[in-house]
Symmetry: C2
Subunit: 414 residues, 2 copies
Amino acid sequence: MRILVQKFGGTSVKDLACMKQVLEKVKKGLHEGFKMVVILSARAGDTNRLLALCNEYSPNPDAAECDSLVSTGEQVSTALFTMLLKDDGIKARSVLGFQVPITTNDAYGKARISSIDKTQLHRLLAEYEVLVIAGFQGISPSGRISTLGRGGSDTSAVALAAALDAFRCDIYTDVDGVYTTDPNIASNARKLNRITYDEMLEMASMGSKVLEIRSVEFAKKYKVPVHVRSTFSDAPGTMLIQEDKKMEHVLVSGIALDRDQARITLRNCPDKPGVSAGIFGPLSEANVTVDMIVQNPSRDGVTDMTFTVARKELKKALSIVESTKPNGMNGMEVMHDSNVCKVSVIGVGMRNHAGVAAKAFDVLFHENINILMISTSEIKISCLIEEKYAELAVRTLHDAFNLGEEQFEGEPEK
Amino acid sequence: MRILVQKFGGTSVKDLACMKQVLEKVKKGLHEGFKMVVILSARAGDTNRLLALCNEYSPNPDAAECDSLVSTGEQVSTALFTMLLKDDGIKARSVLGFQVPITTNDAYGKARISSIDKTQLHRLLAEYEVLVIAGFQGISPSGRISTLGRGGSDTSAVALAAALDAFRCDIYTDVDGVYTTDPNIASNARKLNRITYDEMLEMASMGSKVLEIRSVEFAKKYKVPVHVRSTFSDAPGTMLIQEDKKMEHVLVSGIALDRDQARITLRNCPDKPGVSAGIFGPLSEANVTVDMIVQNPSRDGVTDMTFTVARKELKKALSIVESTKPNGMNGMEVMHDSNVCKVSVIGVGMRNHAGVAAKAFDVLFHENINILMISTSEIKISCLIEEKYAELAVRTLHDAFNLGEEQFEGEPEK
């Protein structure tokens, strides 16, 4: 049984006219001989409207009840779309999270998928041409409806594609693929035909909003061929794939920009064992995610420590850091700065080629852009800079690595 | 475990202010030491809005998909109300039809309950003080969401009360009980403290809109004590009970009026075996419900046959009757009249007292109201009359049987 998974976001199903375009995509898959598994989000606006309803009735809505309520968004969109399929003479039915079942943990509002029942899905696929599955939702061990959090429908789609060993998972969205960088910043930004899972993970976590990061993790783990493409055109988009030989000579795939950064500097931190734990432990317990961390060499028994957090968590992070002072850090001085951003150079080619970092630092230096912090991984170099230089840095790096020019990266999938 | 079942209709949960009144009713039950099972309808207007959405997307919406969509109405109301309970510090959770589970047949849109899992409910009741259960919905043998049809939440409530052997099932509605007749017609109509299941069945089927008829059948079958009362007051309403000694001397309980009647008369019907079947068979196959039937004595091998149908089915019924003519009924003449209505005198006391029918005919005769058709059962006498006499007939009968006066019918339940 050849199975094609297609996922459509909220703007793709927002009204009857849009759903009719989706219908054509599904029929195209049927004509190509696939059994179709279609994952839908709620109609654009519905999820926000339902969340607002929760907040109207309760100052602090119970998470499980909120999930039961908010999951009705996908229940509505899947029923409506299945009606269209049936009116077109296609054997189809809607399948809700509990009907698959897609089992999750009980972290309501941000649940994680633990298993998907393949047997039941195969039985349904033997009976129907198209299964229209509600994204974003599952069922907890205690039998209650759970939701996967924002962007969860991407994860539903990739997880279902993995479970069903699908030929491909097409993620239809309102952009036509993954770009070398934000086209609003660099007008010569180019759509990538291919990108590796690892690069996409870096792009996604760096603020490239195309795919929810957990769906990319899932795709990587189960090697799901994912095709990110536009609902509103037939042009091929970007394929997410495993690293292969063809890609070796492509040094850098893209430049990511993350403005959601705030820097905290601790001056005169006592440099003794347990100090880092004394600061980052309480932050972690309060669910404050720390991104970059730099510690300067010690001098006279004290050191400077700098780290970044998301801007909306700055206030919380500062109060936690202040509260650690009584623990033998009285002389410590706390400073902060929100006018910073992070530019990242991403590419699997870095693994085998030296000099990418040196080149990046060099071109930023030539534009008089001061690098405040640096962090690197095998396939990424990130620099924290003053936010006013954000666009200049992105354009400069994009041009320095020739990302605006067509590169050989293999043929796109059809 | 003493369990109290409470059911609230759409107008009782239509907004936050109304839900807060419902909250008080539930807390009262808790204070009285009950475990509470609360059945909710969708918020007023939601079900109609969701049905309209189905019709916007499909000229003939798939029944199963429509049920999946429309059932979100109760999913929303139960989640919102449970949030209020939790905010008040009460251990509560919502339970959807599939979570109970309430199993139905697969007649989507008008499904019938086949079983309710008591074990699971008792397990939940051990853990929670209040279960907020979505009315109107269940799950079909193939695991799809089904709905019970209009007024189905009443049936959900009574069925759950029966399954749980509840102390009582309180049906909260926007009227304060069952009346001897429509107070808009007879200003001295009186609220009944008690009514038997059989009388209520006759009242319900006669157009008394207080309770859905299937819920009364369920209550009768499982002897569920049902209390019909108002959400917006604390006054006792009407208890539905089994017939008992106390009620024997109450001759007549109420007068029902059904305006939804149309009469069809077949003149010169050949009077030979199989003719009735030749007419009523095709009507039944087309789902046209025939109410009263009268056949005159035969004369010269032909007879007149008169029957009534609901007004909206008159056209359909007429075309079916015309289509039977070729089958040896060529000389038959078909006439019809929509300006008729049915008044019924209802009371279990009739079983043991003669003369109720004679008295009813007599008082109508004295008002010059011509009786067009008569049908009777053990506890009911129905007369078809011209519609223009409807109110006069109801008032006359109501007074003739002294229904405006307080009668001993036992103490109301608190």
